[in-house]
């Protein structure tokens, strides 16, 4: 174990280096997706703009997770735990969202500070 030869043979079972061409390929794909999301944000897509941006972001996130973060080779327990955190975030956002919509008017009509300057038409 003590020798410092770098052959792949002495890699212990928990050591799986990711192939370098794959890593570079993933990076290029990420750059491409970034440019894509910039381009789509310039096009008038109305209500689809946001979902498209999120889909692209999620694709990028998936690439980073799978290859840069070695999830592809990792123990499924680790992956499961990590991904289940997203479930809890969804729950947090979902339940809160379900509620807060119903009392927005009360918040909007609450007196603000500093008092808004009344806007006058005349200059």
């Amino acid at each position: 174990m003590a020798d410092h030869s770098h052959s792949h043979d002495d890699h212990p079972p928990f050591n799986h280096p990711a192939p370098i061409p794959l890593l570079i390929g993933v990076f290029l794909a990420l750059v491409f997706l970034t440019i894509l999301t910039l381009v789509t944000s310039d096009i008038e897509l109305a209500q689809f703009a946001f979902p498209i941006a999120m889909v692209i972001a999620t694709a990028k996130a998936a690439l980073v997770c799978a290859f840069f973060m070695h999830m592809f080779w990792d123990k499924s327990f680790n992956v499961l735990f990590f991904l289940s955190s997203l479930l809890f975030v969804t729950l947090f956002i979902g339940m809160t969202l379900l509620d807060t919509g119903q009392y927005q008017d009360d918040i909007d009509s609450f007196p603000r500070e500093p008092e808004a300057t009344p806007v006058v038409a005349e200059q």
């Binding site: 973060m69 990792d74 735990f81 603000r112």
Partner: protein, 357 residues
């Protein structure tokens, strides 16, 4: 029960251990697996830590889309995209650094980790340009929000940028000096380490320069926008006007277009049926809520970048003293995972904050 070998039941006095295995672990694999699960769990806590801000973002975006429509005019998506690419590249070099450590190549690992650190500092440099430009314009959190466009000059060094750069300048001088001292007392690794840190801080200034160049290129455009306020977003007009009333007649705002939007409020009519842009007389200042969220999110993210640089510096140091080997590379992997998470969060922050239409 399985048969117990009672003759050899006592633990041997001297448990043979590799020096890198902590005494309470049986072997390298158990140590690695523990660390790996530990860092994944830590990343889970990070995601839930950020989740609060994502909840705030989602709620305000859904309940007040008009605020977000107004606010995005203040964000330069080119700077955001630049920073995205910088972070993605740093993620690549981090992954390559882990690869090198997995093969026990400390030299390569050190180089890749150093590039990662420089990219991280560059990201902060660009961020400093973005922040200081906003502060110049009076774009703060909700309670301090006051847009005053007349300070937006095409080429000028913001006093906020100078304040933000004080610490990096001190660090740069300190690291360079420390590197020379270490070399003088022939501590090679320490000298290299300090030199690496100096290069890292240098990355911040590269980021600042690139950011300033971008700003200079876009300044023409922005200036033109302010010259003809009818083109400017409603909130700009509202606040510019607000400003004008206080210090007589600055930039000549186009009153008509804007009066139509807001007149109904002065008369106290029902807001809900108004035009969505004119939902509330506070619209101008409520844009500040977007920036509250913006500063919380990007600020917390920047703190994570700084923490990442510290962690990476630790890895870099251990590269210099040749710690990593094929059966012991865990810490590089763990810090790498953390770094990728910081990248992951930015991957979402970029479209959420910069690409709103």
């Amino acid at each position: 029960m399985a048969v117990v070998d009672t003759d050899n039941i006592l633990e041997e006095e001297h448990h043979h251990h590799e020096p890198f295995i902590a005494h309470h672990f049986d072997d390298a694999e158990q140590q690695f697996d523990s660390g790996k699960l530990g860092i994944w769990l830590f990343l889970v806590t990070e995601i839930l830590f950020f989740s609060g801000l994502f909840v705030a973002y989602t709620l305000y975006r859904i309940h007040h889309p008009e605020i977000f429509e107004q606010a995005h005019h203040f964000l330069d998506k080119r700077l955001g995209a630049l920073n995205t690419i910088v972070l993605l590249f740093s993620s690549l070099t981090m992954a390559l650094g882990v690869h090198a450590a997995q093969n026990g190549d400390n030299k390569k690992c050190g180089l890749y980790v150093l590039i990662t650190m420089v990219c991280a500092a560059m990201f902060l440099g660009v961020k400093a340009i973005e922040y200081s430009h906003k502060w110049d314009l009076g774009i703060f959190v909700r309670s301090e929000f006051s847009y005053h466009p007349h300070t937006a000059e095409p080429f000028h060094v913001s006093p906020y940028l100078i304040k933000l750069s004080v610490i990096p300048v001190l660090l740069l001088v300190g690291f360079i000096a420390a590197s020379f001292f270490a070399r003088a007392s022939s501590k090679v690794a320490l000298s290299k380490f300090m030199g690496g840190l100096a290069i890292t801080v240098g990355g911040y200034f590269v980021g600042v320069l690139i950011g300033m160049t971008f700003m200079a290129l876009t300044a023409e455009n922005e200036h033109a926008q302010l010259e003809s306020p009818s083109q400017a977003p409603l909130v700009l007009r509202a606040l510019t006007l607000d400003d004008d009333k206080h210090d007589d007649g600055h930039a000549d705002a186009d009153g008509d277009a804007h009066a139509d939007g807001d007149h109904s409020h002065a008369d106290g009519e029902d807001h809900a049926h108004g035009d969505s842009h004119a939902k509330s007389p506070d619209l101008g200042r409520d844009v500040g809520i977007f920036f509250s969220i913006y500063y919380c999110m990007t600020g917390l993210h920047a703190i994570h970048i700084i923490a990442g640089i510290v962690a990476l510096a630790w890895i870099y140091w251990r590269c210099l003293v040749v710690h990593w080997r094929p059966d012991y590379f865990g810490p590089v992997d763990y810090v790498g995972l953390y770094w990728h998470l910081v990248d992951l969060i930015w991957i979402y922050l970029f479209p959420l904050l910069y690409l709103i239409d």
